[in-house]
Every structure is written in structure tokens, then in C-alpha cells.
Amino acid sequence: MQIVTDVREPLVTGGKTIHDVTEDICKRVEEAPTRSWWIFFILSLVALFSGGYFMGDMLWTGIGRWGLNRTVQWAWDITNFVWWVGIGHAGTLISAILLLFRQKWRTSINRAAEAMTIFAVICAAIWPLTHMGRIWVGMIWVFPLPNTFGSLWVNFNSPLLWDVFAISTYFSVSLVFWYMGLVPDFATIRDRAVGRFARFAYGMLSFGWVGGAKTWMHYEAMSLILAGLSTPLVLSVHTIVSFDFATSVIPGWHTTIFPPYFVAGAIFSGFAMVLTLMLITRKVYRLEHYITLEHIEMMNIVIIVTGSIVGIAYTTEFFIAWYSQVSYETYAFKNRAFGQYWWSYWAMMTCNVISPQLFWFKKIRTSLVMTFVLSIVVNIGMWFERFVIIVTSLHRDYLPSSWAYFTPTLWDIMCYFFTFGVFFTFFFLFAKYFPVINMAEVKSVLKSSDANVYKRRDTIKDINNVI
């Protein structure tokens, strides 16, 4: 069924037919969980419950359990928040921005990447909520709800409130986008299901989808608009996250370069996380024909581009600190690179700026092992980036008497570990019970690399109707 041409390599290799796509993806949902899945899932549960114990203890006792002090009031909490939000951005980038750019290679990775977005945003949201100390009021007081204090409202001039709106909108819109993509695939599973429960569950999940041409027409229009809405949304989210810092007056944070720099960093770390997860999923589920080396190479190219943007941003910050001749600003940056936290700064520089440059070599960017290793290195680097921005800017306060050094406690580490537990528990449940690859979209690109097919389609008269 698949047509091979000299135009370009097929997006799905192995001469898969449309029925093969259904078989390959649905089989993973229908078969009993494999041993490797159980191992990964139990490890995630261990992280969830062991970290959860410390998280619960921290909530019961208070955030004094963390290593924060009078000077460094934000450390791992907000670092983890920005890191997780950043990771989430790749999913929307792949599904929305690459849809607008008609990059068809996105079809086999967008489902898992969007799932990653949703789980990463859940992990991110845990941090601003817990860092407020009293999570139960924090969840209510951040919204403009009428109350018995006046009503005393939230402050719409504050970037922290913009963040509340940005993150909650981002989460809910991504969730809807992801779910609507899942509906046709749930219908495929429903129509194959043999068990009573599976038929019931996937019947409910598929919303009674039957795939009529009219429904597909509206569905396509809706997907395109959701992509169009998500694209500025995803850019706005990390821009607003960067405003949390950029609108302050702290040297090292008070920087106009932050929005583009944070967005590039977010895409950078997000793609690294997508690669880490997809390389594992590809291996465990034997999806080599769907997630090909070409996909991995494409993602590695995005990593070079965004990694270089991030590198330029680091340099620009230093240049501006010197060029502005503001002594506080200059000190903040000198202190970053050569002060007490020099090790975190150079860890960040090595992982984020130097290591992705290795992908200029085709041998490295098409090597699975190197890609896997470097994707983890990039994520470590991006965590350090946020740590460097937050902690090194805070620990030298205006008064030398309040200068301090931040050391994480066991609660800092275990609460971070807890969010990994949340993320991977959700991800493995998703990978088992949901179709990991968007079947409907992959089916629609099986034939698309054939020039003869284009010519035969004389029914396409509408210019808005792009293939």
C-alpha cells in the first residue's frame, strides 16, 4: 500500500499498510502489560510514594522543611516549577507549531509529546502551589473569587497572577487538544475491543465517534484553530513565567532578554525530554518503523538550534551587564560565573551550550545511544540554568550581613523526586492504556510522499485545504 518515491524517505518505514498501523498500535493497548512495563511502572510508584511521604510531611510541617533561608527564599521549588513548565512546551510545539508549518513527521510523536506536556504541567503546578505553604488556601486565593474580606481581590498588575492564568489556561487547552486527538483512536480501539469492560470504557472515552466525513471536516478545522490558538499560548506561557523574574528589580533577573531566552530554553529542554521518553517507548514497544532515525535527527536539529539560541542569550546577558556599566548588574554576573555557585554555572554552560554542539556531527545526531545520553545531559543543564538564575541572583543580597548560601535538605530532594513519580506514573499508565501514536494522523500520511497521488487529486480546489 505504501508508495516509495525518490522525492523523500517515507515517514513510516517498513511498508506498513493502514491495517498494520491499527494492529501495531492497538496491540499494545490490548495485550497484557509486559514485564518491562511492570518494572518501569513499579519504579514510578516507588518514586511517587517515597517522595509523596516527604511531600506530605512538608505540607504538614511547613516549608521550613526545605533549605530556604531569609535571603534565598526561592530555590528548588521555583527551579523545579520553571523546569517542568519548560519541558511541557515541547509537546505543544510539536503538535501545534509543527502542524501550522505542515511538518508531517510530527504525526508519530505528537501524541506522546502532548501527553508529556500535560503531565509536566501537572508536576509544574505542584511547585507554586506548595511553595505558598498553605496549599489549601493557595489553590483558592489565586483566583479572583468573591470573598468575605471585602471582596479583596487578586492583583492583576502582578506577573505572578498572570502566571496563574497562563498556566491554568495552558493546562486546560492542552488537555482538550490532546483529548480531541485521542477520540478517533479510542473509537478504533472500541471497535476492536473484545472484553466487556474495554468495550464500555473505550466506548465512553470515544464519545460515540464513527468518523463521518462531515465530522472529520469540522474536526480538521477545529484542530487547525486549536493549533493556531496553542501556538501564541505556548509562547505566552513561558514569556509570562519569565516575567516572574524580569519584572522584578533584582540584578540578574531584571532583564528584557528573558522572554525569548526562556521560550528557547523551554523548547530546548522539552525536546530533550521528548527524546528521552520516545527512545524508551520506541524500544519497549518496538515502534522503530514509526519513530524512525529521521524523526530523531529532526529533533536533534531543533536541539542544536534552540541550544545555540540559549548560548547566545547567556553571552548577551554578560555583554549587557558589562555594557550597561551598572555595578550591581556586573557584580551579579561575575558572581554567577566565579562566585560560590561557580560549579552550577559551569555545569549549565557545559550541558546546555557545549554538549548540544556535538549534534553538528551527523554520526552523533543519528546515534541512538548518543542522543539518549545527550538528551539527559541537556535536561540536567536546563535544571541548572533555572537554579543559576534563581539562587545566584538571590544569595548575594543588598546587605552583606544577609548574604547566605543555599543547601538543599532531604525534603528538597525528595519533593522533587515526588514530581518524577507523578510524571512517570501518569506516563506509563498513558503508554499502556492509551494509543501512544496518533493512528488517524499516521494513516493519513502513509501515502503522502507520492507525487502521482497529488496529481490525481483534482477534487482539491480549495487553497485552504492543504495536505
Binding site: F156, P159, R192, V210, G212, A213, H218, R457
Partner: protein
């Protein structure tokens, strides 16, 4: 009892043309419509571009729904912020004016996107009547796998069934020869019973639990 309610409206008879290939389908839909056959609907496993034109559907109204809901969200956000910050409890924050429009832009933008996305998806679900407890009328289960199904409502067509069959064969429905040499043509008749047409979720659930038979008429696998 059920037979008493039988009529042409509820007990529908459809003729299904089954196609293997999307390009054959596109040609076939045009061919069938040119011959004067009214198509009820085409069911495909994935979106096929150009099919809506071949079927003569009007453009989707989703963009208009998104715009309307987006505009609503935009207005709501402006009203919310100006009322709270400028009217209900004005406070001097950093020497800014009470209604500081530039500061309101992020929340206005987020609310616009939120309303547009949810409003549009809601419109989509409502107008296509998709909801969790919906009992789907499945014409052929393979239409979510790899076959394209053209459903023709015999009651709505003036041509006879034999004529429509011939037109479908001309249009290139799938053909395959089984092991014993008999040739099968991808044309099928699908009749919906009263129950399938009304699609009660409670009955669907009861059937599923009691005997495992649902509207798709497939027996449940009891043991491995």
C-alpha cells in the same frame, strides 16, 4: 411490540460501498454523485482532504465559533479586570493607574484563548452530538480501521437497489477472491433495528453486562 413501530424512518436500510483506497474513494464519490445517487455519509478511518468538496459540504463553521467565543472571553477579561481593579476596590500599586491596560493584556489574552478553545470544542461536540454516553450507530466496524465506507440510504434514493449496486461496482469498490475461487464485492446491506436507531445508553449497558451483545452485534470473548 417493537414491530408495531416499524416504519421507513426508524428502520433504515442502507447500502454500503466499501473502498480500500482513499484516491479510489474520492473518484468514486464524484462518480456516484454524478450518477444521481444521494450519499448519506462517508465513514473514513482518517480525514481525507478533498472529500468534503467531493461530497459538496459547506465550509466548516468552527472558525466562526472560535471567533465568537474568543471575543466573549476577551470582553469578559476586560470587564473582570477593570471592575475589580478600577471600580470595586481601587488600590494604588506601584504608582500605576487603577485601570492600567498594559498590565491587563496577559490575562485578556489568556481568557481569549481559553474561551475560544473551550467554546469551539464545545460547539464541535454539541453539533456533532458526541458525548460519553452516546451509543454510536456503527455502519461497519472496519471504518475506524482501514476501510472507507460510503453509506447510501435506500429510502432517500429514487434509483433501485440493483442500479445503485451497479453504480457502486463501476466506481471501484474493493474486490477480493477467497480461497475457494468465489469473488466477493465490497457491497453490503446494513439494516438498523429500532433499538440501534434509538440508542439508549441504559439498554446498551444492560445488553453489554447481560449477554455481551451490543449494537455492533459482536459476541463478547468469554475466556482465553
Amino acid at each position: 411490540m417493537a414491530t408495531a413501530h416499524h416504519n421507513a424512518e426508524t428502520d433504515k436500510h442502507y447500502l454500503l460501498g466499501i473502498y480500500n483506497d482513499e484516491d479510489v474513494l474520492l473518484d468514486a464519490v464524484e462518480h456516484v454523485r454524478k450518477k444521481g445517487v444521494k450519499i448519506y455519509e462517508v465513514f473514513t478511518p482518517y480525514p481525507i482532504h478533498g472529500l468534503e468538496h467531493a461530497l459538496g459540504y459547506k465550509r466548516s463553521f468552527m472558525p466562526r465559533a472560535a471567533f465568537a467565543f474568543g471575543a466573549l472571553g476577551n470582553i469578559c477579561a476586560i470587564l473582570l479586570q477593570t471592575t475589580i481593579m478600577g471600580i470595586d476596590w481601587p488600590m494604588i500599586i506601584g504608582g500605576k493607574s487603577f485601570i492600567a491596560i498594559p498590565n491587563f493584556i496577559p490575562v485578556i489574552f489568556e481568557c481569549t484563548v481559553l474561551f475560544a478553545a473551550f467554546g469551539m470544542v464545545g460547539t464541535f461536540l454539541v453539533t456533532n452530538s458526541l458525548y460519553p454516553h452516546k451509543v454510536p450507530r456503527i455502519f461497519d466496524r472496519r471504518s475506524t480501521d482501514d476501510k472507507h465506507i460510503v453509506a447510501i440510504d435506500l429510502a432517500k434514493n429514487t434509483l433501485s437497489e440493483a442500479e445503485i449496486r451497479n453504480i457502486l461496482i463501476e466506481s471501484g469498490v474493493e474486490k477480493h477472491t477467497s480461497a475457494d475461487g468465489t469473488e466477493h464485492v465490497g457491497i453490503k446491506q446494513r439494516n438498523f433495528t429500532d433499538e440501534e436507531n434509538k440508542g439508549s445508553f441504559i439498554r446498551y449497558l444492560a445488553d453489554l453486562i447481560a449477554n455481551g451483545v451490543t449494537s455492533s452485534n459482536r459476541a463478547i470473548k468469554t475466556s482465553k
